[in-house]
């Protein structure tokens, strides 16, 4: 039975090229993402489990995990608050120089991170512009974990601003007006109406900022001082292993960072999917 009538459209899609575009995307993902990842796994695959465990549980490396985790955590938390504020100001108010500030938000992405690191180290060193004042009140930033946090926060702030901004822009003003007519004060409107709508985007921004900070190298090493057990971050440990031509050990440490980042991003995505399904139905 011939059921392919000549009137039947061959495809329901409006634009052709699904096969081609998906193919190119997959190829590209394979080349820039999967291939290096495979290389990483292959490199560690040469090790036995005990060797792997020995490398990643080295006390100095473990200390670096701790430092990296808590500095990245504080940096992303700071970015969550400050990034939200920045996005808020950029969306809600009109003021001269707004477009300039908007453009400057991307600066940390455009700037080589090493340049940022050197600049921050200079500014916050004991004799630097900011450092001398902070030093006078007993706060030292350069060569301490505080310096690491500042460097991490600087390089990853755009993640928060750029994820929150579009959501804030798309938020209908009626929701706030409805809340006001129902008698809610400003604080309540923000907590109960605005914030819950922003929350998924903000959390994504914070998570991206966090994972980026976990791997930050260029900006951090110049300001961190890199004292073993005190201000060494994991990416530095990686670098050290590479300098010793111990590629397997470097890969092992890298795989730990990678795993943490992936698990975090996956968890956030899962949670966010559930939350957004509630907002958009189904």
């Amino acid at each position: 039975m011939a059921n392919a009538s000549p009137l039947k459209p061959r495809s329901k899609r409006v634009l052709p090229g699904f096969g081609l575009s998906l193919g190119v995307s997959l190829l590209f993902i394979s080349l820039v993402l999967l291939l290096p990842l495979t290389g990483l796994v292959a490199e560690t695959a040469g090790m036995t489990w005990s060797q792997f465990w020995f490398v990643i549980s080295d006390p100095r490396v473990v200390e670096s995990y701790k430092i990296t985790l808590w500095t990245a955590f504080l940096a992303s938390l700071f970015n969550g608050a400050f990034g939200l504020l920045l996005a808020w100001v950029l969306v809600r108010y009109e003021f001269p120089g707004k477009r300039l500030i908007d453009a400057m938000v991307d600066l940390p992405f455009a700037l080589p991170t090493a340049v940022a690191g050197i600049t921050l180290a200079t500014l916050f060193s004991a004799s630097g512009w900011y450092g001398q004042w902070l030093e006078a009140v007993g706060i030292s930033v350069a060569y301490t974990p505080v310096g690491i946090i500042i460097a991490m926060a600087f390089t990853s702030i755009p993640f928060v601003v750029r994820t929150v901004q579009p959501v804030l822009e798309a938020m209908p003003p009626e929701d706030e007006e409805a809340a006001i007519t129902l008698g809610a004060g400003d604080g309540r409107v923000f907590r109960k109406v605005i914030f819950p709508s922003l929350w998924p985007a903000l959390l994504t921004g914070i998570a991206l900022s966090f994972t980026r900070s976990l791997g930050e190298f260029g900006a951090v090493i110049f300001i961190a001082g890199n004292t073993p057990y005190e201000t060494e971050v994991t990416s530095l440990m990686l670098f050290v292993r590479l300098q010793e031509f111990d590629y397997a050990a470097a890969s092992a440490i890298a795989s730990v960072v990678l795993l943490v980042s992936l698990v975090l991003l996956f968890a956030i995505n899962l949670w966010q999917g559930r939350y957004l399904r509630r907002l958009h139905g189904k």
Binding site: D175, E177, A178, I180, T181, L182, P196, L279, K282
Partner: protein, 363 residues
Amino acid sequence: MSIKIEHLNKTFGSFRALRDISLDIPDGKLTALLGPSGSGKTTLLRIIAGLENASDGRILFGERDISRLPVKERNVGFVFQHYALFRHMTVAQNIAFGPESLPKAQRPPKAEIRKTVTRLLEMIQLPELANRYPAQLSGGQKQRVALARALATRPDILLLDEPFGALDARVRKDLRRWLRGLHDEFHFTSVFVTHDQEEALELSDQVVVMSQGQVEQVDSPTRLYASPASRFVFDFLGHVNIISGSVTDGWLQQGNARVSLPGVSVSGDAQLYLRPHEVRLSVEPGDRACLPFTIEAINLIGAEVRVELKPDGWACDDIWEVGISHGEFSRWQPARGDRCFVTPDIGHLFRNGDNRPETVAWT
């Protein structure tokens, strides 16, 4: 609570959105603000709510001047065209939002809020949807929830901004009837904005017709329809047939069309407005008027047969429309291209430069 608006003005930059509006909105009645888009009706509603500030003028709720009060102290309920439900809250949480926003001293206990929510859910006939999220509701259901949420704070005044504008025709009709019923039961003072004259006339006790930031006419639906006070109101309330001509010795004349104007003594250029139900069709001219036409189209669908007419030997901007009964239609059997004449019963004469009509009655 009644609303009194005194000499209200609103400008946005150099644009005058509202010009010297003075208006009384009676207690316990449904008032419609009717006008085309850009007429200022929504701005007026938002100023009453306090969501917008007037440039000058006063608003009184009852005897109290509330012009300077912030929104949340005005105790108004506001319903938005696109519902504006909080998407991350369930239906019940949405409705409870108002009572829970009260300052601690006035806030009712949790159990009482729960009771209010249950009562309102029953009133909007959706008690089974309490734990749904707005995204899971239809448009009509969303608007009912929005209404329940607005009523949960026991507002003195309910304001609705094109409440049925985003709904399809059938749901709109249902919801309209339901709101009317609800209003007849509870008698809250309500003001709603609409651009749909049918909606305004069907639903309201009083209609405020607005155009270009000004009030054109305030009247009950019946009086408004019976005697529109200006050209604008005529045009806005449905089809109207117009003949322009010059008046001499009590006759309006243009080309080979002429209409007697009993009781009109002035002369000069003028327009005569005749509404479809205020004229009759005949095969011969009567002694009141000679308005010759050819039949352009006949539409049989509806309670009446609608006949579209093209002037014969004179000119007008818009095609004429006349309604005849189905009985008359089958007796007379007119067809396209037939010649016929219009005989007026009641007309409204606008002299050039004059915005108030003079009613002409032939009987």
